[in-house]
């Protein structure tokens, strides 16, 4: 239980730090923060094994951290340093750390779903009971690649967990302006893919749903679709004033903050004390500070690196 809490606090602290560093121009590029959505990443990855594979999209920090990617290497990547997980070549939207099972993130909405289809295909072929999971937002539900992938995953019974983080906004517009459908899980039902819509701010509900789906996939039952209803407390990207939202909507969701909610539940149940709670947060923040510090001393990549790794070998 404390592990879940720690993961969520680490993601929150990481992204708050990223925001701060972005303000000081120490990290760069187009950054998409997941503050408010931490329960999905933490709950889902807690239900997966180390050997399971994750593909993420343009909002990937939480997924990478929850999957166990070293946060110093993430800071370094966002800062464009040689010590970054992608040696400074990828940046925020292209994080990759396959040894942890975090295959890759990608900046193309919907493109990640098709990619994950292939990862799941490979998992099936390896016959090691591994499953693949893909995180995507509600905006991806309108892309052709998403529909093509649902059909194929269902046809071929691929061990793929479609994890939709429905935060109600596709970039800058509410989902209702993008599609007449409010819950994307309906598309999965069309193809006979088992689906569940859960409270994405309830980390235990997410973990349970993903556990069930992963067990089904491991047993050869094919794909599942888990739609997590959540909310991003920041704009679409760092620097987005997000004026398209009502303030009341924002404050309403703030009361449903997944971290505070879970902490309160734990205390109420007597699982731990207020002091222990605060200690978890403090530890997470300290480890994030240390990682950021470490990353800031990383070397810039040599310009010779620019032409390397275009091809293998």
């Amino acid at each position: 239980m404390l592990r879940l809490l720690r993961t969520m606090w680490t993601i929150r602290a990481f992204e708050e730090k990223v925001s701060e560093l972005f303000g000081r121009r120490e990290v760069h590029g187009l950054l998409h923060l997941s503050i408010g959505q931490e329960a999905v990443a933490a709950g889902a990855c807690a239900a997966l094994r180390t050997t399971d594979r994750v593909v993420s999209g343009h909002r990937p920090h939480g997924h990478a951290i929850a999957k166990g990617v070293d946060i110093a290497s993430l800071f370094a990547e966002l800062a464009g340093r040689e010590t970054g997980c992608c040696r400074g070549k990828g940046g925020s939207m292209h994080l990759a750390a396959p040894t942890t099972g975090f295959v890759t993130a990608t900046g193309i909405v919907g493109g990640n779903v098709a990619l994950a289809l292939g990862v799941a295909f490979a998992c099936k072929e390896r016959e090691k009971q591994e499953v693949a999971a893909v995180f995507f937002g509600d905006g991806a539900g309108q892309s052709g690649a998403f529909h093509e992938s649902l059909n194929i995953a269902a046809l071929w019974k691929l061990p793929l967990l479609f994890i939709c983080e429905n935060n109600g906004y596709a970039e800058f517009t509410p989902l209702s302006a993008h599609t007449p459908i409010s819950q994307l899980a309906r598309h999965a039902e069309t193809y006979g893919i088992p689906s569940a819509t859960v409270d994405g701010n309830d980390v235990l509900a997410v973990r349970t749903a993903i556990s069930d789906a992963a067990a089904r996939a491991r047993a050869g039952g094919g794909p599942s679709f888990i739609e997590c209803m959540t909310y991003r407390l920041r704009g679409h990207y760092e620097g987005d004033p997000a004026k398209y939202r009502e303030l009341s909507e924002l404050s309403d969701w703030k009361t449903k903050d997944p971290i505070r909610r879970f902490a309160a539940t734990l205390v109420k149940k007597g699982t731990c004390t207020h002091e222990q709670m605060r200690a978890v947060e403090a530890e997470a923040r300290a480890s994030v500070e240390a990682a950021a510090q470490k990353a800031s001393t990383g070397a810039w990549p040599s310009v010779d690196e620019v032409t390397t790794l275009v091809y293998a070998g």
């Binding site: 992608c86 070549k89 289809l117 990862v119 052709g144 194929i152």
Partner: protein, 325 residues
């Protein structure tokens, strides 16, 4: 040596690689049925439909699927039925297949082979006849090969499948049923090495894919007029064997480049730009390009024939470069 058709040579490369490496998968629309041109004939029966996989008509998702599977260590060979349909998969090809290795800082390998056929033949019209190799040369991260005969079709495809980078193998539909000697058993041709098809001292003629046939015909005709044409087939457009081409140019002082695609920002433009920079002082005359006219490919047989660069046009261009205007 056995005499095989170009399509049989492709089939034989696929069969041998499926047998040799458990990680090889053949994926595409109708491939388990043999494919529309027979390239995958008999493979499903021999290796099972688990490794010779039929897909829905979802080019984008197929390209993404194969890329994702390659990132996981499989060695997929996908068939895109017509190069024109690759438009539906461009996002996955350009944004994922070509780049994941680089973007991930070398953590992910993409040992993917994309087989596709192109060219103006059979009156398919503008959506089934384009020649798009320049697109792939323009996207860093992809290798591009274009076999011009059955032996190369087998050797280059085998090399492509074994390559650890994504390789686009562009076949020509009009060559599918041409015959030629193909070495027995394992046969690979290193990617990035041009072939000298005919030696000559007066002018260098670089031709790709089906234009190699036309170039050899023209060389034969011009030999009767006293012009000795050296014909070079680059075979691999990226990486490009510029050394072989410039070495020839140092001898002849003249260069003509022929391809079936339109000229605008095409392979000919790239080669010309490279050669004039690398061997400016050796040039005795301006380099000439022969490509298709700047138009979509028409369907009518006569229009199609007028569209495809033929022997007469090519011979004219060579004469002009050798003899002056």
């Amino acid at each position: 040596m056995a005499e095989l058709t170009y399509i049989e040579a492709i089939n034989s490369a696929l069969r041998e690689e499926l047998a040799r490496d458990r990680g090889v998968y053949v994926i595409g629309e109708d491939v388990a049925l043999g494919g529309p041109f027979g390239a995958t004939k008999g493979l499903a029966a021999e290796f099972g439909e688990r490794r010779v996989v039929n897909t829905p008509i979802s080019e984008g998702a197929i390209m993404g699927l194969a890329t994702g599977a390659a990132a996981m260590g499989l060695r997929p060979v996908i068939e895109v039925m017509f190069v024109d349909f690759i438009t539906l998969a461009m996002d996955q090809l350009v944004n994922h297949a070509a780049k994941l290795h680089y973007m991930s800082g070398g953590q992910l390998g993409i040992p993917l082979t994309v087989r596709v056929q192109q060219g103006a033949a059979g009156n398919g019209g503008a959506q089934h006849s384009q020649s798009l190799e320049a697109w792939f040369i323009h996207v860093p991260g992809l290798k591009v090969v274009m076999p011009s005969n059955p032996a190369d079709a087998k050797g280059l495809l085998t090399a492509a499948i074994r390559d650890d980078s994504p390789v686009i193998c562009i076949e020509h539909r009009a060559l599918y049923w041409t015959r030629g000697e193909v070495p027995d058993g394992e046969h690979t041709i290193p990617i990035g090495r041009a072939a000298l098809r005919r030696p000559g001292k007066d002018v260098t003629l670089v031709a790709t894919s089906r234009m190699v046939e036309v170039a050899l015909e023209v060389a034969g005709t011009l030999a009767n007029e006293g012009i000795e044409v050296e014909v070079i087939d680059p075979r691999s457009l990226l990486p490009l064997d510029l050394d072989t081409i410039t070495a020839s140019l140092r001898k002849t002082g003249r260069l003509v480049i022929a391809h079936e695609a339109v000229e605008g920002a095409g392979f000919g433009a790239e080669l010309l730009a490279q050669v004039q920079e690398a061997a400016f002082d050796y040039l005795d005359a301006p380099i000439a390009r022969v490509g298709a006219p700047f138009a979509p490919v028409p369907a009518s047989p006569v229009l199609e024939q007028a569209f495809v660069p033929g022997a007469e046009r090519l011979a004219g261009a060579v004469r002009k470069v050798v003899l002056g205007a």
